[in-house]
């Protein structure tokens, strides 16, 4: 085998490895670009979500719904208070003479 042939095989193999190295660099570079794009899109989506909630009608609609619900609860709460007041009044009416007697007893004692 001639010297030329030996050099030629070695060079070709060397080139093969160099090409592989370059291919790896290209793959990594491509992955980095894709990665940056993935993260950029995620940030954009996050920002859009925030803006949508803050400026869009969605937040207003959620709050409106919650306000309606809270008002219903508040009405129910007041209705229960009025019920308690009614019960308290009828209890007091039954016992008022006894209370008057107790105070009179103290005043006149």
């Amino acid at each position: 085998m001639s010297m030329e042939k030996i050099v030629s095989v070695s060079e070709r193999l060397e080139r093969l490895l160099e090409e592989a190295e370059r291919e790896v660099e290209r793959m990594i570079e491509e992955a980095k670009v894709k990665a940056e794009e993935i993260v950029r899109r995620a940030r954009e989506e996050a920002e859009n979500l925030r803006l949508k909630m803050e400026q869009g009608g969605e937040m207003a609609s959620i709050l409106e719904k919650a306000e309606e619900e809270a008002r219903r609860e508040a009405e129910e709460l007041l209705r229960r208070y009025n019920e308690r007041i009614g019960e308290m009044k009828s209890r007091a009416e039954k016992n008022i003479d006894e209370a008057v007697k107790a105070v009179l007893k103290e005043v006149l004692a």
């Binding site: 996050a46 709460l77 009044k89 209370a99 105070v103």
Partner: protein, 209 residues
């Protein structure tokens, strides 16, 4: 170079090339995997912040509306409770007025007890008693009776009906002769003391506390 050596060199080089490519692919995959993980974290964080913002606003809204209703309910309940308790004392006031206006023996006896109590509380021998215009005649009699009773034990004892008049439904104000000690035993005064003392008790009897 022999053919065997050459083939071995080619084989090892190809293997090395494959290793380099495989390692590169793994690195690239790792970069993408981390980017996807970071993107997921960013989105989750954004969603969490939005959820927190919504929850904060919902809580503030709910606290305001329910809180106002709760306060209004409590205020109404307290006002009604006060009204009911006050009603008792107003009724007692009416009863006392009726008693005082009746000028009955019961009232006369009450007036005498009120004077006795005041005299005992002030201490000493000389007193002045004040009543309202309506009770003047009743008190003239009572003063005489008390003087008579007390002089049995204290010859110095004297109690005079003042020309000054008090306002109100009845009862007495007794002063030591020099005016240094005053005992308010009017019906209003006694009712006021009873009001302070019995307010909670009245609430309990009424069943409103």
């Amino acid at each position: 170079m022999s053919k065997v050596v050459e083939a071995d060199l080619i084989k090892r080089t190809v293997e090395r090339r494959n290793m380099i490519l495989l390692s590169g692919k793994e690195k690239a995959d790792q970069i993408l995997k981390e980017a996807k993980r970071e993107a997921k974290r960013i989105k989750e964080e954004a969603e969490r912040r939005v959820r927190e913002m919504i929850n904060r606003q919902l809580k503030a809204l709910r606290d305001r509306i329910i809180g106002e209703a709760e306060n209004e309910g409590r205020r109404k309940l307290m006002m009604e409770r006060e009204k009911l308790i006050n009603m008792v004392f107003e009724k007692v006031n009416d009863e006392l007025r009726k008693l005082a206006e009746s000028a009955s023996d019961e009232y006369k006896s009450l007036l005498k007890r009120l004077v006795d109590e005041a005299v005992n509380a002030i201490g000493g021998s000389k007193f002045v008693v004040l009543v309202n215009e309506r009770d003047v005649d009743l008190m003239r009699e009572i003063v005489k009776t008390i003087e008579k009773e007390r002089r049995k034990e204290d010859k110095e004892f004297s109690i005079k009906l003042s020309s000054r008049r008090i306002k109100g439904i009845g009862g007495v104000v007794v002063e030591s002769e020099d005016g240094s000690k005053i005992y308010n035993n009017t019906l209003e005064g006694r009712l006021l003391r009873a009001r302070n003392m019995l307010r909670a008790e009245v609430g309990k009897i009424l069943g409103v506390v």
